[in-house]
């Protein structure tokens, strides 16, 4: 075979391999989602899944109402903590961050993103559970807030950096103070990216399990007081997966389906929103 033909053959081979690779990369999510939907659909469409509390083990039926409420409360409080602070830090990094402090903050936040989620649980336990003397939803929220902070921070900074400098210069040239320019011109222009970052961080927090294991412990009853232990959807999936009762295992799949729906829809919405806002 001529040298050229050999090279072309090699090229086609490599192209084939690359296509195999992308297929292999895209298949896991399809398989995962397929199984979650197939196994979770019976449970999620069962009457009372959304409105009932869990039944004692061995008694079929029941629902995850307490877990849904718990997830909303825990993630809600975590977001209330992380979003304002994270946005502020992101603003700081983009506007005043070209110095040593900014460098350090960026570095530390990048390191925090890579930490194992269980470490945040240990942090939450040492700081809020051992000191206050009981498990609580708020210790989980604190752990999740620290987990969300770097994500929001970086997303905000990225969004702000993308705003064209001409906007900044124009505002300053009109005589507005630096802080006014930032808060009233730049931030609104970057709002798409900031909101996306916050939504993605919230979706991530909703799916976390490890930080919750020894902070909020879990609760089969409805609990509205964040100072007490609460259950969440992710915890429900984890615990029910490990029990031998098939009705509870079905509920685990159903809760997993619900969780995947919430997280995926939030992710999709966030990305669509940012694409629409960025002209």
């Amino acid at each position: 075979m001529s040298r050229v033909a050999l090279r072309v053959l090699l090229d086609q081979l490599v192209t084939g391999l690359i296509i195999l690779c992308i297929m292999a990369a895209a298949i896991p999510v399809v398989i995962l989602l397929l199984f979650v939907v197939i196994k979770g659909l019976p449970g999620i469409t069962a009457p009372g899944f959304f409105t009932d509390l869990p039944h004692p083990i061995g008694v079929p039926g029941g629902g995850v109402f307490n877990a849904i409420v718990g997830t909303l409360v825990v993630v809600g409080i975590a977001s209330l903590l992380a979003v304002p602070i994270g946005t502020l830090i992101g603003i700081f990094l983009s506007e005043f961050g070209r110095n040593r402090v900014g460098y350090a903050v960026r570095f530390v936040s990048d390191v925090l993103t890579g930490l194992p989620s269980i470490a945040f649980g240990i942090f939450g336990y040492t700081v809020l559970v051992a000191t206050l003397g009981h498990f609580s939803a708020i210790s989980a929220s604190a752990a999740l807030a620290v987990l969300m902070l770097p994500l929001i921070l970086r997303a905000t900074e990225t969004a702000l950096v993308l705003v064209p400098n001409s906007l900044r210069e124009g505002g300053l040239a009109l005589g507005a103070a630096r802080w006014r320019v930032t808060l009233q011109i730049i931030v609104p222009a970057a709002l798409g990216g900031i909101v996306t970052g916050a939504l993605l961080a919230m979706a991530r927090a909703a799916g976390e399990t490890a930080p919750l294991l020894f902070t909020t412990l879990g609760n089969e009853f409805l609990q509205l007081n964040p100072g007490r232990p609460m259950g969440t959807l992710a915890l429900t999936v984890f615990k029910n997966a490990l029990v031998p009762y098939s009705s509870l295992q079905d509920q685990a799949w159903a809760a997993a389906l619900l969780l995947v729906l919430i997280v995926s829809v939030t992710n999709i919405l966030a990305r669509v929103y940012v694409r629409r806002v960025q002209r």
């Binding site: 004692p56 051992a130 409805l222 609990q223 232990p229 490990l242 029990v243 031998p244 009762y245």
Partner: protein, 368 residues
Amino acid sequence: MKHAVSAAGIAIALLLAACGGTGSTSPGPASGGATVPTPPAAALTGAGSTFDYPFFSAAFYAYNQKFSQVTVNYQSIGSGGGIQQFAKKTVDFGATDVPAKDSELQPIGAAGTVQMPVTLGTVSLAFNLQGVNDGQLKLTPKTISGIFLGTIKKWNDAALAADNSGVSLPDQPVTVVHRSDGSGTTYIFSDYLSGVNSDWKSKVGTGKSISWPTGQGAKGNEAVATTIKQTPGAIGYVELAYVLQTNMTQAKLQNKDGDFVLPSPEGATAAAGQYLVTSPAQFSIVNAPGKDSAPISGYSWVMVSKDQTDKTKGTALVDMLDWLVNDGQQYAANVHYARLPSSVVQNDVAALKTITSAGSTLLTVGAS
């Protein structure tokens, strides 16, 4: 009377909605309301043993149906976890299958703790073998030790075949499943093995967390059961309730008298009946004599602080525990636990009466 209790309960629940949890408000079964104390509204948290989780799950659900102002949130994290979290005071009560030592209860200490048995259960050896049904496999102390020491590696081992002449055991490796967490069930089981096998006693010993010679670990009775169910050729020690409620296959165990018994609540009661005294110092009922005794049985204990700082919570706690060892025992029978012997119940109520808050006794009503 019943309506008044429910109405009062609902009113209290509405008033204290921020501090307490809410459960379903359907009217619970009437069970002689006059002798069961009505607790104040409280959200109680307990943690510990997975051994009695099926019982607790049913009982606390029923208690909330009866008294909607009280939620008892019990998380089964293993006896070790129960003792640790109780000692740290992160939970209101702890549950364990082996009474805690004074050193484990620091800083409260054993003197400041009431430890009382609340249920009686038995450990079963569940397995997963195709073609071998419930009760068809017979295990002796010798074969059980062999399996868990790792000396019996295959199901068609000579020692197993000798005891099971009518059953065809496959040429399949034995997968041992044990606990990965600090477990009172492990304590009861290893206590039994130490008693029947000197090799085990010297090499491994008794404890909540031991160094297993072989096998894979799973967290909690629940996960051990799930693993056995999913792994052909697996065998492990699981509390009876999990086995019966999920239709697993278990083996007949040879007790001290030489009889092969299928673990059951009656077997547990027979074993417990052989011992007159039950206290945190003397609690082991494994390898009990008697032809009906289930050899690997044990009580499960609840730990409560003698001095309750929060009077309302403390009152709710003792009321709930009083109900648990009296009326609550009916739920034990439903989920394959044995009722507490009446002598034990009397001791428990007496112990509950020693619990005080700021000096005054909290338990106001006697046993039914």
